[in-house]
């Protein structure tokens, strides 16, 4: 047995390519089974015909792609794009100082503080959104608090509008921004900051010319991790937006569920995927080398 094991190890040591293949096999399987295959299924469905009562007929057609030139889709895509972009900016504004503080001043509490950032993921997403509804409602904590100290006489509408949707999106995806930023700030070589100080750079200059450029990778990966799920979100606009602020994810859901047209819904899903990729490619190019992005992931 041992000799077989040794021979196997020896073989792998000598054949670099096979070794890489073996080591990558689990990851490859994961990506193929859970990312590539589902997308291929969606692609296949987008060419099928929808039958009676929402059943799917396995007859190939291009009809679905004729129907996706829908002005409403592009209007909703634009709105979702803007909401997701605002979310990214807000997450960055809140997440960067937070990650910076943890990385530079967290001391021995760092692991605990990072744990606190992830903690919300341990409870149900739905429950957390309902908690926000009680915070923002007309008789919620904010409105009754402001009324109590006499700042306002009538409740200000905080819930069931675009404001509530942005609050919900920012809250939900903040950890996705904080964690990559923390990783890049944590890895930042402090000696570079000392060197900058020795050379006479003021703290603001140190930050702008050293810290910020060196954490660019974290900013990019954090932004992508926030932007992509935020643009497809449909629960937040449904619950916090009162179903009045529709985003593109809901539009696609309605094709599947309300219209019972799975092939058409699949075609719209792919269109969304392509549009998001088109948006992201120039961003990644402008924001830094792909290497910086990969480093952070």
């Amino acid at each position: 047995m041992t000799s077989l094991r040794n021979r196997l190890l020896l073989y792998l040591r000598r054949h670099e390519r096979v070794k890489i293949g073996v080591l990558l096999a689990p990851t490859t399987f994961w990506v193929v089974a859970f990312t590539l295959l589902p997308i291929l299924i969606v692609l296949y469905y987008s060419f099928l015909t929808s039958g009676l009562w929402g059943m799917v007929v396995h007859e190939l057609t291009l009809d679905n792609y004729r129907e996706i030139i829908d002005p409403l889709f592009f209007k909703l895509f634009l709105r979702s794009f803007l909401l997701a972009a605002v979310t990214v900016v807000l997450c960055l504004a809140a997440g960067y100082p937070l990650a910076y503080w943890i990385a530079f001043y967290g001391g021995r509490y760092k692991p605990f503080l990072v744990f606190l950032v992830i903690l919300p993921f341990w409870s149900s997403y739905l429950v957390r959104l309902y908690a926000w509804m009680t915070i923002l409602s007309d008789h919620g904590i904010i409105n009754s608090g402001l009324q109590l100290i006499g700042l306002i006489s009538e409740p200000i509408p905080l819930l069931h509008n675009e404001f509530a949707v942005v609050v919900g999106l920012t809250y939900t995806y903040l950890p996705m921004m904080t964690l990559p930023l923390y990783a890049s700030l944590e890895r930042l070589d402090r000696r570079l900051l000392d060197a900058a100080a020795d050379l006479g750079a003021a703290p603001a200059t140190q930050f702008a010319r050293v810290t910020l450029p060196l954490t660019r990778g974290g900013i990019i990966s954090g932004s992508v991790l926030v932007f992509v799920p935020a643009i497809g979100e449909f629960l937040v606009p449904d619950l916090l937006g009162g179903a009045k602020v529709m985003m593109i994810g809901k539009f696609i859901t309605m094709k599947f569920v309300g219209l019972r047209d799975w092939p058409l819904g699949s075609a719209f899903s792919l269109l969304l995927m392509v549009l998001v990729l088109l948006v992201l490619v120039p961003y990644l190019r402008a924001g830094g080398s792909p290497k910086a992005f990969e480093e952070q992931l």
Partner: protein
């Protein structure tokens, strides 16, 4: 609170002692006669004496099936004691999954790969489930408590002969309002309360359910059209009315959320299910029900067994259990909707509930209620388009 209420309803005399509104003997007799005993409206049945404990053969079968039952139902759609009681009685474990709407339920069942035992679709979805071969035929001899069900809810054209389904609860969809804010409004008693008075008097304080067919039906009724019209022009007109009212809406509420909004007075008028208004009224006395003169819609939620159900015998036992008069009355009281269980209504449901027109409409009101039909495939894109445009 819920448990407390249900226990109260169980004991009729206690319920009468604690009744909020004084109930004279005369009024009780008159109203009971108008309701439960008018054979034309709610029908009459005889009650077979049903042993409460399952026999050992039944218990063995449940055990052989694995002592588990998968339920797929609307959220919070039982009395909190119902499932524990069944689990204890049949020594089985019940897993309860909830869905937010019929369409989601249908989509999930269509994918296959799920094997729910008992599902609770709204009447208009039964034909779709049957057409897709997603249901398992019922075995009548496992369901003796079926004899308790009112004839008007049996053999409907959604499931002739009840081959696949039996009714669980039923209700209406119309208007809830808060009498503190809705005062001296000439439009009270009409859909104009929402569509005409709404923009000026209740702007930002109006709620709607988020059920597509129900919302569109409200606007159709307001215009005096049938809720089941297939005329595209009428549907489009309803869509236009809804688009005009939308800026004045607080929200389209999913599930039971509108009830909470009525209680906290976030909304003062709303298109709502009667049960939500009734339950809200228990917490906030000012919340009242109105079935407008143009009429509202009616529905019943049914119990069906999934085609691939792994525990079919247990599923029948559960359905039969839900049709036991005391259980039916308890569930009905907890969720605020009417029971189609004749025996329960006559013998257990508290008289003030049985006489409440917000739960059990009078014979006259019953004529104003139109049951929603199944939307055929050729009209579905119109509905979908109106709804998408309204929400976008």
């Amino acid at each position: 609170m819920e448990t407390e209420n249900a226990n109260r309803y169980r004991d009729v005399s206690a319920a009468r002692r604690h009744a909020r509104r004084p109930l004279t003997r005369r009024r009780f007799i008159v109203e009971a006669a108008a309701l439960g005993f008018s054979g034309s409206l709610y029908g009459q049945t005889t009650t077979p004496a049903e042993p409460l404990q399952p026999d050992s053969a039944a218990l063995r079968r449940v055990k052989r099936e694995g002592s588990t039952l998968y339920i797929y139902n609307w959220e919070d759609y039982f009395h909190p004691d119902t499932i524990p009681e069944f689990e204890q009685l049949y020594r089985t474990k019940v897993v309860y999954d909830a869905y937010p709407g019929n369409e989601h339920m249908l989509a999930k069942l269509q994918t296959g790969g799920v094997s729910y035992d008992v599902i609770f679709p709204t009447h208009s979805f039964i034909p779709i489930l049957v057409a897709q071969n997603l249901l398992s035929p019922l075995r009548r001899h496992y369901l003796p408590n079926r004899a308790n069900i009112m004839p008007r809810f049996l053999d409907t054209h959604f499931d002739p002969g009840n081959k696949y389904s039996l009714p669980y609860t039923w209700g209406m969809t119309a208007i809830g309002y808060n009498s503190k804010y809705v005062k001296e409004d000439p439009n009270l008693g009409s859909w104009a309360l929402i569509f005409d008075s709404g923009p000026q008097r209740y702007s930002g304080k109006i709620g709607f359910t988020d059920e597509r067919e129900e919302v569109i039906a409200a606007a159709l009724k307001y215009k005096g059209f049938s809720a089941n019209t297939h005329k595209e022009s009428e549907l489009r007109e309803a869509g236009k009315i809804l688009v005009n009212i939308k800026p004045h809406l607080k929200a389209f509420y999913p599930g039971t959320d509108e009830k909470k909004a009525f209680i906290t007075e976030d909304i003062v008028v709303g298109h709502s299910w009667n049960g939500e208004v009734v339950k809200a009224g228990e917490k906030n006395n000012a919340v009242k029900w109105s079935l407008p003169k143009e009429g509202g819609t009616g529905w019943y939620d049914a119990m069906v067994i999934g085609r691939q159900a792994p525990h079919k015998f247990t599923a029948h036992a559960f359905m039969n259990f839900l049709m036991r008069p005391d259980i039916a009355a308890k569930n009905s009281a907890a969720v605020g909707y009417a029971t189609p269980n004749q025996t329960a209504l006559q013998t257990i449901v508290a008289p003030e509930i049985a006489a409440n027109p917000a739960v059990y409409p009078t014979a006259k009101d019953m004529k104003k209620i139109e049951f929603l039909a199944t939307i055929p495939d050729h009209i579905l894109p119109v509905y979908s388009d109106i709804w998408t445009r309204l929400l976008s």
